[in-house]
Symmetry: C2
Subunit: 205 residues, 2 copies
DNA sequence: AAACATTTGTGATATGATGTACAAGGGTGA
DNA sequence: TCACCCTTGTACATCATATCACAAATGTTT
């Protein structure tokens, strides 16, 4: 990384670029210009160029960017190893749906195992073993940093336990607001709030 | 609405406030000050006061805000009727999980019906009827504005159809990037991208 | 090989969001 | 009723992000 001060806003766009580049690569596109990519993902070309510049000089003037090597750089420099080990905490409806939705294999990694407090859920659902949450420390995969939280209660308590066990990133699918110390990143994906926001926006025009 | 230029960032925080206020109300809290609310949701009190001020003068100096009437105002002014009619497009794993996850009843509204193109999925799964997508216009509920998209393919095509039928807000659970004309709001909730972003962030420190 | 046409990468600038400071005004208690 | 205390709402300052404009560098054409 050229500088270690990549803006938050930029960081949020990297996954979008990566997604688009993979698709373009799959479509057989070998080189692309910031303008084209911009049209593709609805982001100004100049924003794209600046975002890229935080990683380094990835393009060539008068030519554009090489798709394949750009993907390479993104993966390498940003630390996407395709076998990121993920755990799922909460094996209810949503949790099980996410287990089966294995779209992320070979893209980010895989859900190694799941945890729940309900004894009925312990066992093996759909290839992914489910352990009791009390055995977290025992079964937490080596090097696992990221947890997907889909519990239906005691969210904060569960989060505290996860952090204590070394988790540093949590995707929170709960409707609860949870707190975490600096250094731990929580990203809340709340369907209810998302829909509310949509309602606010469509009413605001 | 006092002004019709509510900043995007503010609009994104309204659901957070509403969520917190409901919880506080449920806990029996009758009045709250911006400082307290700020601690509760991890947002600076001054940001909260400014956000509120876009709607009007909702508080009293030296006193704070009345929780019940604040919720009232949010619901009313921002147009949350608790019976927003939602449709679900795509009745696969994730779609079915969302149908069963009826946490949004009496909070935003309800999923009235679902659509899919797979004949095996047509029928009644879990109280919510599933129709064939080709019958969208026939079964689209009166006044329905928002769709939840969980299809596994042909995302853009499906979105075009939805927009043509009058949908103005879409929660996109697909990994696809979709485009829409001005006036239609797309909010993408992509688990894969979210996890990637987390990886980028934790690697960046 | 030289001139031209492109497109990158980045200073400079504009826009948007957040944080500070405080005047204005309602609540509270004597 | 009066004086004090507290919290709101907002003008102003700061910080972050997006956009503009263009020099530098490369591919392409003649």
């Amino acid at each position: 990384m050229k500088q270690n001060k990549v803006p938050k806003a930029t960081l949020q766009r990297y996954p979008i670029y990566l997604k688009a580049l993979r698709k373009l690569h799959h479509m057989g596109v070998e080189r692309i210009m910031s303008r084209e990519l911009g049209n593709f993902v609805d982001i100004e070309s100049t924003t794209i160029r600046r975002d890229f510049s935080f990683i380094g000089s990835l393009g060539k003037q008068g030519y554009g960017y090489d798709v394949a090597s750009l993907i390479e750089v993104f993966n390498g420099q940003l630390g996407v190893n395709f076998d990121e080990k993920l755990i799922l905490v909460g094996a209810g409806n949503l949790g099980r749906a996410l287990m089966n939705y294995n779209r992320w294999n070979h893209v980010v990694g895989e859900i190694v195992c799941a945890f729940d407090t309900d004894n009925d859920k312990i066992g093996s659902l759909s290839e992914v073993p489910v352990y009791h949450l009390r055995d977290l420390k025992q079964y937490l995969p080596e090097g696992c940093r990221i947890a997907i939280l889909t519990v239906s209660g005691n969210a904060q308590e569960t989060v505290d336990l996860l952090i204590e066990s070394g988790i540093v990133g949590i995707v929170n699918f709960t409707h609860e607001h949870i707190q975490a110390p600096k250094g731990v990143i929580i990203r809340t994906v709340d369907v209810v709030s998302t829909i509310q926001e949509l309602i606010f926006q469509v009413n605001n025009f």
